[in-house]
Symmetry: C2
Subunit: 398 residues, 2 copies
């Protein structure tokens, strides 16, 4: 691979590579785990990320440039047989024109265009007859004139709870920019269903998971599989999620789709949000299912047969997040010893170059026939991990 | 990490790395799978290998130099908190002096000194009361004066069946160099037991496996777990292997030890050979056990708690080997689609830069309650993989 622009490729190790198998827009933890899943299949990955020390750069070759850099995106898609995403926030217009000129991009930039605009996402699903919260206003007013709580949402760029505000009746709308307003759902529990669509349009689903949120960080803290829901709810959650993948399939969806769902107090299921990529709610599949979301996404976008989504074992996952009063910057991990002392614990640290408060740094999944026991142990294990501001000492690691 | 010698470090991606967690002598498939196991634990690896396009270089940083290069070995051990091996054939004297000056090397170079010389290996185990074939001569004569078949073995450097010759009574000894002679065992079956010893001297064992050999390549072709042996044989095989790890523990063994065993026609178990590292007979643990040999080796040498060796599922593994009439050189993999169409198949391709006849290119493990069914499917899957001499096409991979 010879350089074709000013962006350095780091790790140009194998000069015999004519073409990478998989290009990935974004080199965070999702890109890293995609690359780690691709390696055993003998597939070579190249990621695009602005940070040369991004999580994925340790295990894949890297083009260092902003995610919306047109020249870098061109270089990525021409370097790889197929290009995919770990993040929706990129340059859909650039990618669309690359797709129009023959690049293989999965999911299609058309999928991103539907999904990245949360208003268009909701309206597309609603028009297809799928259950979404009622949209009260396509543009938020300065102040709520509703007498009940509503939800103001950013159309673009929100993630991990950012870009969402619950607004009591009569109060000012806090979020700037393009926002819309939907009804506040009385949430009984939050579920997610990971589904996958292959290049032939075959759709399959993993078992629904329970998502537990940290109300301070407004971030998913734990995921439990199987979700503790009645069979009828489970069946309906899977049906809705598979139908969602079919609707987005008409817009070019190929690969994993995470469908986040609300179960409301009247027992209705509503689609909260979708992401056309591996997702935090699917990390648990690495231990809980036959084929996990990362290998499955790689298989799907490369046109390979799908793996089995069958449940292998009940499990619980807890995120490892930079603590509220953490320093920001380089770090040394402490607590591996405590995590690994639990034989049911599987540690996943992302190797991010810096810690900061609220940043996802890793996760722990514990397997157990009892999901309550698994959750208790996953939380204990995750809480044992800390991030010290000093460098690695000689000898044993912690 | 700043360069301290003439050897280039490729992939110096994260300049904030003061020190790698793990140095690995050798960047073949074992180094690659060690690095892939270390990554989820948030551990950074650096490998030493003469080939900048070695299998491990795609997923770890690399020092490019011969494995016995004193300056490169110095650089490796001073770059990493702990250094380990994927291959025994290195420079034990250099490593011993590095260990004497404070480098943390696990297993100790003293273990390598015992194991790398197969005569010393056998004599050390025999002196400890462990069952090994009878050594008939410490130096092979030019011609066998025995009336029955004997085995001539190279003391140094043999692997994958090289350095071993069965010599009928009265015939010439074919192997050059330092060789010794032992009795030919009447082999009923070949078993392997993977064991691990941690820094506190705790030893644990995985379930014994059956090894099936390709008589043409004199290379293990299939591995089956659990081995189909009576409980008493199983118990004894594990006992002998754990005792072997304890004996080598006195010589500094830390990490995984593969113990290859003969079960002879009279029901005796004899130690054929040991390797103080992950081993082809242990690849199956990636799917068959709670914690596999690669993560376990990483845990052990870094002083972390051992994982569980418990059996998760019966399984069979088949090696994917460069075919007898293969071209030698760069290649494109064909047949992924057929392998991945079997939902019980787990594909592991090593990403080696070139194929050649007889070269281990990957393996497939199939899981199934019936090991016979698993073996049949693993063989079918492995046989579907081929290596074409052309480059990767655009679009779907094969």
């Amino acid at each position: 691979l010879t350089p074709r622009s000013g962006h350095p490729i780091l790790k140009p190790v194998d000069h015999t590579v004519d073409r990478y198998d998989l290009g990935i827009v974004g080199g965070g933890q999702l890109g890293r785990m995609l690359a780690l899943a691709a390696a055993p299949l003998g597939l070579r990955c190249i990621v695009l990320d602005p940070d040369p020390a991004c999580a994925a750069a340790q295990v894949a070759d890297t083009i260092v440039a902003p995610l919306n850099d047109a020249k870098a995106l061109h270089r990525l898609v021409t370097s790889a047989a197929v290009t995919t995403f770990e993040i929706e926030h990129t340059a859909p217009a650039v990618l669309s024109s690359l797709e129009d000129t023959g690049a293989t991009i999965r999911p299609s930039p058309r999928t991103l265009a539907v999904v990245a605009d949360k208003l268009r996402q909701k309206e597309t699903l609603r028009e297809a007859g799928l259950p979404v919260p009622v949209i009260l206003a396509r543009t938020a007013p300065g102040r709520s004139s509703w007498t009940h709580p509503v939800v103001q949402k950013s159309r673009f760029g929100g993630y991990d709870g950012r870009g969402v505000a619950v607004v009591p009746g009569g109060e000012d709308m806090p979020l700037p920019g393009d926002t819309f307003v939907e009804t506040a759902v009385e949430i009984e529990r939050e579920l997610a269903v990971l589904v996958v669509r292959d290049t032939d349009g075959v759709v399959d689903a993993w078992a629904p998971v329970d998502m537990v949120f940290d109300s301070t960080l407004n971030l998913v803290s734990d995921v439990i599989v199987p979700a503790e829901i009645p069979e009828e709810v489970r069946r309906r959650a899977v049906e809705i999620s598979i139908a969602t993948a079919r609707v987005l399939g008409e817009h070019g969806l190929v690969g994993v789709l995470a469908v986040e769902l609300f179960l409301d107090r009247s027992g209705r299921i509503l689609i909260n949000e979708v992401a056309p990529r591996p997702h935090n709610s699917g990390h648990i599949t690495m231990e809980s299912s036959q084929c996990d979301q990362f290998e499955q996404h790689v298989r799907a976008v490369l046109g390979l047969p799908l793996g089995s989504t069958a449940l292998r074992t009940p499990a619980a996952m807890t995120n490892i997040v930079g603590p509220p009063h953490s320093h920001s910057g380089a770090y040394r991990v402490i607590g591996r010893r405590q995590v690994l002392a639990d034989p049911t614990a599987h540690l996943h640290l992302y190797g991010k170059p810096a810690v900061r408060p609220g940043r996802k740094m890793g996760h722990v999944t514990c397997t157990d026939p009892s999901t309550a026991d698994a959750l208790s142990r996953a939380r204990t294990a995750a809480a044992a991990v800390a991030f010290a501001p000093s460098a690695q000492a000689k000898g044993d690691v912690q």
